[in-house]
């Protein structure tokens, strides 16, 4: 087994967020792609929720189910493990991305597997599994059409539900023409999809291992609930002899029947469908007498920073997420800069609140500030995660002094802490708390206004400089004979 432990997680440096956002804003094609896609997805979603009462009642249920599951998380994980085990599924625990990669690699190595076919899995993107296995001579082929497209392009998904949302028909036509043999250039979407189908058909047959994510897991029956439209998820979990499912450990719920409202919220919020083409409920490997299905099923339970979010009563709500993507579809920032600018596996509002736990605030310090706090994300969230409130909280943690002792310190606490800024705020609050100092400051600001600097850091990049008035309100009132 390899001893390589280098972190492969930062596929782009977090510090470049501003530069990438700027570049995205200046790319009219990208702006058009995202604007069109966001409008489309917003309309599809709202058409699925014609009755506000039903939507709100369902969101209440979704929130209650997820909060209940999180409150009992350790117990439910053990129950899920026991149930899966009884069903013949092998369960593995991974604290970090590297642990999860190692576990998958070991399963593959034991069977001398060379080819992995993948259904859509954001958890596998999060741990950069393709990269890890690729370095060890194992090919991973993405079979979700959108994932396949971004893999051909050597890119990352720009959206958690629609990975190739940034690509146009013509981009994809060029990609297919270049990478898939015997493929003439065409912008006909049906023809493009049939080309993708033809190209991947063989991969399902030849794969040694099928890998998938998990949308929901039920602790009471030991069932993995997978949601999809294309059938590639079913193929990946049915045709190869081994199925490995990677799931963030927060995805477990107490009962199979609790997934009923969650699945409805997921499909309607994500793509505006009353239900997706396939709900694939997997509760075990092929049994004796059955003629297909994997003979080995593995589940990898992934922590990778989730227990940090769990520890804090407020931040725990982050883990309620069911990964529908509605927050990014409604985010004015995401719509303008697209998914890649964030530089994290999960972009948009959910990415801004989950990534600091996965990667540390030091690697993601800009993300919680990339928000106008307009509240749209919180308003559409199907499980009522108070995303704007969590963004403010993460800003606070990023600005806290690195050495300040708190009950549940976050990795990278104080990443945005600046001594100069702290000094200014202390000076400011001191001046406002002492009348004598305040009067002196007021006198100086009004009388010395000619010396106000014309370059005022970020403010003057897009705005005229701020300049104090010649006389303060107090001065003016006193002149009118109305004392302070």
């Amino acid at each position: 087994m390899s001893t390589t432990t280098e972190s492969t997680l930062h596929f782009v440096p977090g510090a470049d967020f501003r530069a990438r956002a700027r570049a995205a804003l200046d790319d009219p094609q990208l702006r058009r792609s995202f604007r069109g896609a966001m409008d489309f997805l917003q309309n599809k979603r709202s058409a699925q929720f014609p009755e506000a009462d039903e939507l709100e009642a369902l969101r209440d249920l979704g929130e209650a189910v997820r909060q209940h599951a999180l409150a009992r998380l350790p117990e439910l994980l053990e129950q899920l493990e026991a149930k899966l085990c009884a069903n013949g599924v092998q369960v593995h625990w991974a604290e970090t991305a590297d642990d999860a990669n190692r576990i998958v690699h070991e399963i593959a190595a034991r069977r001398s597997a060379k080819r992995v076919i993948k259904g859509k899995s954001m958890a596998s993107e999060e741990i950069e599994l393709n990269h890890y296995l690729g370095e060890r001579g194992i090919d991973c082929i993405e079979s979700d059409m959108g994932e396949y497209i971004v893999q051909l392009a050597g890119e990352k998904p720009s959206h958690i539900v629609m990975p190739a949302i940034h690509k146009t028909k013509s981009d994809i036509a060029h990609l297919f023409e270049k990478h898939i043999p015997d493929t003439p250039y065409t912008e006909d979407v049906d023809a493009l999809i049939q080309t993708g189908r033809r190209a991947l058909r063989r991969a399902f047959v030849d794969a040694d291992i099928g890998l998938s994510g998990v949308n929901f897991a039920a602790a009471d029956t030991g069932t993995l609930w997978l949601v999809e439209n294309e059938g590639n998820g079913r193929m990946s979990t049915t045709v190869p002899d081994v199925h490995i499912a990677i799931m963030g450990m927060e995805k477990v719920v107490a009962k199979l029947e609790h997934i009923v409202p969650l699945s409805s919220l997921l499909t309607r919020s994500a793509t505006g469908q009353p239900i997706t083409t396939y709900f694939n409920l997997i509760s075990g490997p092929r049994r004796v007498g059955e003629l297909d299905g994997p003979r080995e099923v593995h589940v990898v339970l992934l922590d990778n920073g989730r227990s940090q979010a769990y520890a804090d009563g407020e931040l725990r709500a982050t883990l309620q997420c069911i990964r529908c993507g509605a927050c990014m579809n409604h985010c004015p920032v995401y719509a303008r800069i697209g998914g890649h600018a964030y530089g994290t596996t999960y972009p948009g509002p959910i990415g801004k609140i989950i990534s600091p736990h996965l990667l540390g605030l030091d690697a993601t310090a800009d993300l919680p500030t990339a928000s106008s706090l307009c509240g749209a994300c919180g308003e559409v969230c199907p499980v009522r995660i108070p995303i704007p409130q969590l963004l403010v909280r993460l800003r606070t943690e990023a600005n806290r002094a690195p050495d300040e002792a708190v009950a549940h310190p976050l990795r990278g606490q104080g990443a945005n802490h600046k001594r100069g800024e702290q000094f200014v705020w202390r000076f400011w609050s001191g001046a406002f708390a002492h009348p004598r100092a305040f009067r002196a400051l007021r006198w100086a600001a009004t009388r010395l206004r000619a010396w106000t600097p014309s370059q005022q850091m970020g403010w003057t990049r897009h705005r005229t400089p701020l300049k104090p008035a010649p006389r303060s309100l107090h001065d003016l009132l006193r002149e009118r004979g109305q004392p302070e």
């Binding site: 997805l41 249920l61 209650a64 409150a71 350790p74 053990e78 085990c85 009884a86 069903n87 013949g88 092998q90 369960v91 593995h92 625990w93 642990d99 190692r102 070991e106 059409m145 959108g146 690509k167 028909k169 994809i172 979407v189 049906d190 999809i193 049939q194 991947l200 058909r201 047959v205 029956t221 069932t223 439209n229 294309e230 590639n232 193929m235 045709v239 450990m249 009962k255 199979l256 029947e257 409202p261 793509t271 009353p274 239900i275 997706t276 083409t277 396939y278 694939n280 409920l281 509760s283 490997p285 092929r286 049994r287 007498g289 059955e290 003629l291 297909d292 769990y310 520890a311 009563g313």
Partner: protein
């Protein structure tokens, strides 16, 4: 911990996974909130929510069949209704007209034997005899259609509930480019909640249960809907509306 069922040899990283398990659960337990609230309260809230959405009018049997058909057609499925005596001849005719040459299905079940009898010489019946490994290429390359009798259905979303078994395995409804599903109208549930509750999914699940609501599709290229991504390009649904001679599946 790497928990292995039966007597599978322990993985070399089992102890590592075991330690990870202890640390993860330890961290979670140390920080778990005091009270989770009663699970029964959530169960009854879910039950009440779905009950309040069902009206007597919409929940009658004929209304369910209509809604089921409407929703499936909206998802691009071809649906036809027929009596228990007539469906097999009608389906055989349609399969022949579509140029289907080889259909995969359980020829031993009552519906399967009825279909096998009705098929013309141009359409061969193939039953699933061997494990998938033994005929994977043939399965992928030579089968034009798969025929399954579904366990039940869901009216509100136009959904088939398929329980693959030894005679009708998972790939029958997945690999061939055409999937034909037969459903007995009296197995329709109002919604997913009713299906899960009435069929008592909580008491134990089969290795695989699949809910199918149309042919395979994708909108991954510029939000343009296209059918036949990886699963069946077409889905035909036969609703058997009367139950004169044949008994419905258990």
């Amino acid at each position: 911990m790497t928990r292995t069922p039966d007597t599978a040899p322990p993985s070399t990283s089992a102890s590592e996974s075991n330690r990870a398990r202890a640390r993860i659960l330890g961290r979670l337990r140390d920080n778990a909130p005091g009270s989770a609230g009663a699970v029964g309260a959530i169960d009854s809230r879910i039950d009440m929510h779905y009950a309040s959405r069902r009206t007597n009018e919409s929940d009658s049997q004929p209304a369910r069949v209509d809604q089921f058909q409407r929703m499936l057609e909206a998802s691009h499925a071809d649906v036809f209704r027929a009596s228990a005596d007539a469906w097999s001849a009608e389906l055989a005719r349609r399969l022949a007209a579509a140029g289907v040459r080889r259909v995969l299905f359980d020829t031993a079940c009552p519906e399967g034997s009825a279909l096998a009898r009705a098929l013309p010489d141009t359409v061969a019946a193939q039953s699933y005899e061997l494990p998938i490994e033994a005929w994977k290429d043939l399965l992928f390359d030579t089968i034009d259609a798969g025929f399954t009798v579904v366990r039940s259905g869901i009216a509100s979303t136009g959904t088939l509930i398929i329980e693959p078994d030894a005679r009708s395995p998972r790939t029958v409804s997945l690999v061939p480019p055409l999937h034909v599903a037969l459903i007995h109208a009296n197995t329709l549930h109002a919604d997913l909640h009713a299906a899960a509750a009435n069929e008592r999914w909580r008491d134990g699940m089969p290795t695989n249960l699949v809910l199918v609501s149309g042919p395979s599709k994708t909108s991954d290229i510029q939000q343009t809907l296209a059918y036949g991504a990886h699963g069946p390009r077409a889905l035909w649904v036969v609703i058997v509306t009367d139950e004169s001679e044949q008994s419905p599946t258990a």
